[in-house]
């Protein structure tokens, strides 16, 4: 009696594709969103801080103080701008004309040569956390250079520490962000659109009419989800191509491993979208719930922007129940590190568990809801 009929599932799919094609909003969101996001994150958002406005007050006006300022000025990280008094330097910072102020006291050179140890003051605008970290790290590296230049000789170092960054030698933030975008784009397309499409059938009453025909719940699920699954895959392919060609981001891993991760993640989120629409049955609520449970976590708690390691302990554990976190690891490691399937087996295991779990819960709820 309960046989799966491909023709009925295909009919549902075909109808869904027609809905998508006739709805410029959905189609636009599906096609333009990945492009828009990649360009936005790739071009506009720059995590590498450059050209920080630095106001300087050189009360010493000696060769040593000028050498110190030169070191800052030639670093490319700072744009220098001199003021006559420390008071005005502080005013520049509080008026937000400068991010930081460097104050060199009189007798800087004298203290230096007397061996008393000279002091220089650095005031950093702490209200913008995103610049503080980079600025401080620049300052410390400039300090080393400046010391040598001021002393005019290279002190024999007891050891030489040379740092090399693996996988992303220039610490290019795009390399880090764009592979993660695949997660964000997919989560928007899969969970949101799925939640909306089925809630819409409930809302306008057409689900009832579907059910008055001999169509089976499973045929509706497969038919409804297939087009959105395809859309998700297409969007990821978009992101991948733009990442590789426009931004020249390397992909050193195995494409099949990455693809498998995509597929697992996609199915998990499609099922989650299905579950949301079954539970809410209203497009507006479904939308909010999809945002809350799908998009927010994949943006904020997956390690996309904020590193999981620096979260409070509770959240570090909390992220473990988010499929996005595991897929984020897979996406980044396949792009940049070139991890093999076995190296990522932990993430794959977690993702598979969520996938199976979510599909089971969603289809059971859906079927129970539809059966008379």
């Amino acid at each position: 009696m309960k046989t799966f009929v491909w023709r009925r599932a295909a009919a549902v799919s075909r109808k869904e594709v027609l809905h998508i094609l006739r709805d410029p909003y959905t189609l636009g969101a599906a096609l333009a969103l990945p492009v828009f996001m990649v360009i936005m994150f790739g071009v506009a958002i720059e995590f590498n801080v450059k050209n920080v406005a630095l106001t300087v007050c050189d009360s010493d006006q000696t060769q040593s103080s000028r050498r110190l300022l030169d070191s800052f000025g030639s670093s490319q990280y700072f744009l220098l701008h001199g003021v006559p008094s420390p008071y005005e330097a502080v005013k520049e910072v509080s008026a937000e004309r400068a991010r930081a102020a460097l104050i060199i006291p009189p007798r800087f050179e004298k203290d230096l040569f007397d061996g008393r140890g000279a002091e220089v003051q650095m005031l950093v605008d702490g209200s913008d956390n995103s610049t503080v970290g980079p600025v401080l790290s620049y300052v410390s590296s400039i300090q080393t250079i400046a010391s040598r230049r001021i002393a005019d000789y290279d002190p024999p170092a007891p050891y030489d520490l040379r740092t090399r960054f693996l996988f992303n030698p220039e610490l290019n933030s795009r390399w880090f962000v764009i592979p993660g975008l695949t997660v964000v784009v997919m989560s928007i397309l899969s969970i949101l659109l799925t939640a909306l499409t089925i809630a819409r059938e409930w809302e306008n009453g057409s689900m009832e009419l579907l059910l008055s025909t001999p169509v089976e719940p499973l045929e509706i699920i497969v038919g409804k989800l297939a087009p959105y699954g395809a859309l998700g895959i297409i969007a990821v392919a978009f992101v991948y191509v733009i990442a590789r060609t426009v931004f020249g981001i390397p992909f050193v891993g195995n494409l099949a491993v990455f693809g498998l991760g995509c597929l697992l993640f996609l199915m998990t989120y499609l099922a989650q979208g299905l579950l949301i629409s079954v539970v809410t049955r209203k497009q507006t609520i479904a939308m909010q719930l999809a945002m809350m449970s799908g998009m927010l976590p994949s943006n904020l708690l997956s390690g996309f922007i904020f590193p999981i390691e620096s979260m409070p302990k509770f959240f570090q554990y909390f992220t473990m129940i988010l499929p996005a976190r595991w897929f984020m690891t897979i996406a980044r490691d396949t792009f940049l590190v070139g991890s093999s399937f076995f190296e990522l087996s932990g993430s794959f295991l977690a993702l598979s568990i969520f996938c199976v779990l979510m599909i089971l819960i969603a289809t059971r709820r859906f079927k129970r809801d539809l059966e008379p």
């Binding site: 009929v5 023709r7 009925r8 009919a11 006739r22 009419l209 008055s212 001999p214």
Partner: protein, 316 residues
């Protein structure tokens, strides 16, 4: 009241319902309802919103499983599964007709695919049904561009695509123009001529008047079931009178009359009143008194009078 339900089991019975109850939690949406519908009959369900009409129809279409009761539709009993029922009936819901953003052809072929019609059958049925509803618009018209009445007719065609034995129409004419309503009903009559069983719910009395038999529902129960004329006779055994006031009346006078013990029924009807009395003798005594104030003439009771008396009366 007359609960005339023929207890036959032959193949001339299209719908057979015995002691059907549907419960949502503690609430009985349908409470021990019994009736049967003959093949080729146009059967109407009349009742206020929430009376249980739609719930009953949803059970009969296999969309809802009853808490108890025996149901047999188009020769298929529910023990054979909902799918067996679904393939025998057509359903037009009150909430939804067709997908607005698809074309007529896309809507129909979607339904045909869900019903597993092969292409040849689908094409033949589509043409038959378009002839039937006299539809001549291009097939690639987007449904959104159709008028409400046309949409409803195409939707009827969609529900008839698989040539069902029984078709359930849940308030099919809600929200369309009077002209479209009467056209839709001429289609329903044509279906009946072709020996199709039509099961229809409605709010409109003039539509109910066109049914072979009607069931009046309230609070999940059938209060009365008969032909329109039979209902009028049984509910109003005494003649129905129309009172036309000679002078405008005050509210006090109206309410005094409405509660007068001689009347079993007294309801305003525009500027006039429809009334029926309890006994001939009682009426003859007070008649001269009323004739002073009103022009009184005898009329045939309308279905609306029946509806008000049974469904809207305070006593259950």
């Amino acid at each position: 009241m007359n609960f005339s339900s023929s207890e036959t089991h032959d193949h001339e019975t299209a719908v057979e319902v015995r002691n059907l109850s549907v419960r949502f939690g503690d609430f009985y949406a349908v409470n021990r309802v019994s009736f049967s519908v003959r093949r080729g009959e146009t059967f109407g369900f009349l009742g206020a919103n929430g009376a249980g009409k739609t719930t009953t129809i949803r059970v009969l279409c296999g969309l809802l499983r009853p808490a108890e009761g025996y149901v047999r539709v188009a020769g298929v009993s529910f023990d054979q599964g909902e799918q067996a029922v679904k393939s025998k009936v057509g359903y037009m819901s009150q909430k939804f007709t067709l997908y607005d953003d698809l074309t007529i052809e896309e809507n129909l072929s979607f339904t045909a695919s869900l019903r597993k019609l092969d292409t040849a059958t689908y094409m033949r049925r589509r043409q038959e049904l378009f002839d039937f509803i006299a539809f001549d618009r291009p097939l690639n018209t987007i449904v959104r561009d159709l008028s409400g009445g046309t949409k409803q007719q195409v939707s009827l065609a969609a529900s008839l695509l698989h040539d069902p034995e029984v078709v359930f129409l849940d308030e099919p004419t809600a929200g369309v123009t009077p002209a479209s309503r009467s056209r839709f009903w001429s289609l329903i009559r044509k279906l009946a001529e072709n020996n199709k069983t039509v099961f229809v719910t409605t709010h409109y009395m003039d539509e109910a008047e066109q049914c072979d038999r009607i069931a009046l529902m309230r609070e999940g129960k059938i209060l009365a079931l008969d032909t329109p004329d039979g209902l009028k006779r049984s509910i109003f055994p005494m003649p129905m009178l129309e009172f036309d006031p000679k002078e405008p009346l005050s509210f006090a006078e109206i309410s005094e009359m409405a509660t007068h013990e001689v009347f079993m029924f007294f309801e305003p009807y525009g500027l006039r009143f429809h009334a029926s009395f309890r006994s001939e003798d009682g009426w003859e005594k007070v008649r001269p008194f009323f004739e002073e104030k009103f022009t009184i003439r005898q009329i045939k009771p309308s279905l609306e009078d029946v509806f008000i008396q049974t469904v809207e009366s305070e006593v259950a």
